[in-house]
Assembly symmetry: C2
Homo-oligomer: 243 residues x 2
Amino acid sequence: MPDSTPSCGKRNMKTIFETDREFICDIQAPCFRDLGPEETEFIRSGKTQVLFRKGDNLTKQGAFTSYVLFLITGLAKQYLESNSTKTFNLRIIRPGEFLGLSAVFHGNVFGCSSSALTDCQAFLIEKEAIAKVIKQNGQFGFSLIRKYTEQNNNLLSVIRNLNHKQMNGRLSDTLLYLDALKTEYPEIFTLLSRKDLADFTGISTESTVKLLKTFEKDGLIELQDKDIVIKNHGILSEISKKG
Amino acid sequence: MPDSTPSCGKRNMKTIFETDREFICDIQAPCFRDLGPEETEFIRSGKTQVLFRKGDNLTKQGAFTSYVLFLITGLAKQYLESNSTKTFNLRIIRPGEFLGLSAVFHGNVFGCSSSALTDCQAFLIEKEAIAKVIKQNGQFGFSLIRKYTEQNNNLLSVIRNLNHKQMNGRLSDTLLYLDALKTEYPEIFTLLSRKDLADFTGISTESTVKLLKTFEKDGLIELQDKDIVIKNHGILSEISKKG
DNA sequence: AAAAAGGACAACTTTTTAATTGATTTGAAT
DNA sequence: ATTCAAATCAATTAAAAAGTTGTCCTTTTT
């Protein structure tokens, strides 16, 4: 589990179902700082906390939803499912991020699936509670929108990639995206399989493997078991830009 | 995928998200036969269909829920999570069964987790829709209650087992339970790991392995790779009864 | 048509996970 | 105190999944 997570004071937290030693985790994440005491109380009353084990689905594309997830600890990946075999990885979800926010405003199904790369603690907040607080507290809404638009920008660049770029450019993109997370979560690459990388990049697993080797041969990266070290950011982002 | 599932006419079904060739699966399962045309329409309007891939969670213990799942094809297991390491398997979920029904009536969180043993097609029906139809159509409610009480009886025997019986009795119980499903789903044992069996039985994986060998030595069962063949139902149910 | 990009398949290797076994410890029941 | 049931631990083996590589095929670009 990452070190630099919004601390909730305890490790080895339990689900709310263990009555013997109930764990109370306050809402202390940055984006909740804007809330007044009654608002905090209101959110708290409409939330629950769940431990997702590594591999568990946090959300399932197409399933009805009545809540938003807020990741407290752990890392997850968000992905799109198309036919039963194909998967496209959209992004890594970090502590402090929301999942399923769009269902608060329109539709009532999850648009994407997501699954836990490590054990994950998450708040589940009923959408009425979130909606009410957003309407009531402009600053909170502002933070949310900010987060959301950032994610949206990422989606746009994903689409750009898929449209314009070829293998090299896309893989560079994926590597740079993940590498940017590495400062905060040094284990990020070791949590992902080659298939995961392929699903981020939108190419086959085999091509990914081969291209990674080529990148290594060209001195752009270094493959250390599952970990990947970027040796030449400059050229890699050149490749990423040129496609 | 099992052969004898409530047929919906097609194989290789797709999620509702694939607009190119949308799959429409009518509500034809036995328990929906009691519904009048308007009721069927009402349910249909408040449902969606999702393909859960093998390993996916259908439900997550502690997560808010606003819907009921109805399994169309595939097999799943339902289990209880306690601390992050321990799991207790409650039952196998077969096509034609509901999941999360209790949340329609009380509480709004899933009481158990469940995950797909094979790819699973499921309806998700919003709980208001189910509730309304139950109130409206006594026969439908009757079928539902019948199903539910049967499940409940199983839970009672599970509790009895945990309280009174020791290893031999419990494992016999688990084996007989699963073997009863084997007629309809011959692959049932091959879908479960030794840990799964242990989690059904409530004993350690190692003890399960050892006891299975003992049972085989005593001619009660035959271990054929992952498959298990019951050779002596009589004695096994003796052991199950005696504890 | 030729070349390049990239997927698909098949064979193989490595790594990871699951299963198995024996030895040791715990803990309740007699 | 002794016994038995069963968990835990450590070590080993077996099976499954992930990763790798080469070849060949298809599609797009030129």
